[in-house]
Amino acid sequence: MLEIRGLRVSYGNDTVLNGLDLDLADGEALAIIGESGAGKTTLGMSIMRLADAGIQGSIRFNGEDIFTLSDEQMREIRWNRISMLFQNVNNVLNPVHRVLDQVAEPIVEHKLRSKGGALDRAGELLTRFGLPTERFSAYPHQLSGGEQQRVLLAMALANDPDLLIMDEPLSSLDVTTRQELGELLRNIDGHRAKLVITHDLDTASRLSEKLAVLYGGRIVETGSTREVLINPRHPYTRALIRAYPNMTTVKDMQGIKGRMTRPVSGCPFHPRCTQAMEKCSSEVPRLNQNHGRWVACHRGGIVTLLSVVNLSKQFNLLKAVDSVSLHIEAGETLALVGQSGSGKTTLAKILMGLYTPSKGGIYLEGKKVEKREKDFYRRVQMIFQNPGESLSHRLSILELVMEPLEVQGIGTKEERREKAIQTIGEVELPQTKTFLNTYPHHLSGGELQRVAIARALVLDPDLLIADEPTAFLDAGIGAKILKLMLNLQECRGLSMLYITHDVAAARKMSDRIAVMLDGLIIEEGPSSEIVASPRQSYTKRLLASASSLHYLDKTSVK
């Protein structure tokens, strides 16, 4: 029923929507999400033909291009066929009219019913949306935000439109009102098409079946709401989810690198994207179908950085790693959780080429890793369990951090020095001469681990394997190291394989968790699912024995 093709909307030189295509069928509920400034509201206003802007492209409503209609015809469509639930900022309702009259107004305006019939219909709607009868004759300022929103909703539905556009319908409400109103909105008659415009992922998940992610005036990803939110394929969608506080995901919140800029050539997200290629800055990616999802990305969405297929390692009689298959996507953290002796470190050492696997293969961006050349180590780096041991006591801090660059033969001595000092700053260590010339045995455990991290990052790797990076640190220092790693992930798009025996830490750090026992991966999935509903009894035991502050409560309940 709604068909948008190549919609470009600009205010003066500022192009807000840039070649947007969108389809909406009868009875479908589609949510458009994006951060503020993405052009969401402009989209809604354009469909209503209320946007005061330069518009190109077409919007067809039931086959008719609304831009070819006369103002008269448009008025007919507006509110009768397409209505809009405005973002409830205080000036939407007219402060001098009673709310019942305001709801009846569009009915009367379009001469659908007599004045009395219109008031009846308005009262009926208000009751349906939960406004008590005694409040009907109140003035808007006498109502709470939630009540005002109910009035606006009744207004939007007064003329029984075919398409309801909702702009941030739940955003300004408190959680309980939001819950109640969300239920109401979800249940309004099935045949009506709904377009939900919001920055709020919760609203989108409540009110829509389909989701389109808007960024820089273009749709970057679209698919079923559930699928997109559980398994985002576009780097922007994932970043948006990571930045959103919610009860589903368990990983610590992370912001999105940089900020939105306009105009941008090529892919609108490329300046903030951590997997951007050269092509991304010159060519606009088209929305393409990829594994059942439409994603606009030159790289086909988030790429799989490293995958491991059927990897085994036998030490005499012991099968340390047994047919393990895993994959790590660009910019995500995979936590490998298991007790000591489960084969986690062996797996890490195989990945790094310190052990040769007995069977199976390792693939870096789809290419099999045969003999590890220096290039491999430029992309994959590791921090070891014991920082004190992994740093040679004979080298100064600066020499330690410069060593990988030396081995790789990157730059001149001066350039290496600069790069090393810059990286040392990045891990929040002092860049003073005295510090750079000290030796590792003068540093604390936390500082040592930072030096180890700096040393691993100095080559700008894509994947960081962290083997129990906090095992030798107390909680306060450990937390700082983990935070630092999350920040580095946000800024650099670093992928991480986080190896730990501690599920409590894993759930804060990781997007996905793989549980390892006796060399086997027994369970793997999004961290939230593993933590909330583990399937294997071992995982349940692991979770039950994880650190808790209410140990006695936990045992007494059982």
Binding site: K349, M352, G353, L354, R372, E373, K374, F376, Y377, R378, Q381, M382, F384, N386, E389, S390, L391, S392, H393, R394, E403, P404, V407, Q408, Y439, H441, A452, R455, L459
Partner: protein, 281 residues
Amino acid sequence: MHISLKKEIKQSQSGKAGIIILLVMIAAAVFAPLLSRYDPMQQSTAPLLAPSFTHWLGTNQVGQDIWSQLLYGARTSLMVGFGVGVLSLIPSILFGVSSALIGGIYDKIVMRIADAFIVIPMIMVAILVAAYIRPDLFVLVLLLAALSWQGGARMIRAQALSLKEMGHISAARTFGAGLFYIARKHIVPDLGPILLVEFIYGVKRAVFIEAGLAFLGIGDPMLVSWGTMMRDAMKFSYLNVWVWWLVPAGVALSTTIIGLTFISHAAESVLDPRLRGEVVA
């Protein structure tokens, strides 16, 4: 763990004593022409003179000045010692480190060769070869070096094997470092103390064997050596010459070896903390 080898040796009393002894010997060897008026090979005055102001330790059976022979003997002894020490250490490091790092069949072959050399009784071979080719100083050094690298190679290999598993070496490998880089930049420097101990062992052994061969009379007869001096002195034991002829040579040899032992003991305490007297913070 960060231990300074230099500090460790300086802090040990016996280490200090060892270094002093060695320095005295080196001084004697270097300044021999200044400390004595006579050429050790020159047959000066009468043979078998008792000590006097002209000949501090008297003369030997052909009238050579014993004091001067003693000083020049230190030259021979230390040259052979340090020559063999250095020359046997090079193959020890080469084979030991490469065996440990490369491993596999290469390691097996090298270690079997080392085992074969260990089984060969060094003194017997040295005596046999020396008796046939009458080696001069240089050939003697080469011969002893060729026969004494194997123990060091095994020690160094064992140490390198354990170093190889250490975190910082694994880390270096994960930067893409090759074996040569790791050997040069990490393993050999980390071997520091063990290399010193091996070196001193080599020196000590060579000093001892050189004296032994000379005593048996199969060294270069033109070479002034403490071993030769003792051998000659023994022939005239009935004349009571031993006091100024046999004993000084014997004492010089023993002192040198004791000095070296002191140093190697102090260096060893770095390797084995149980040998340390007290914990130094």
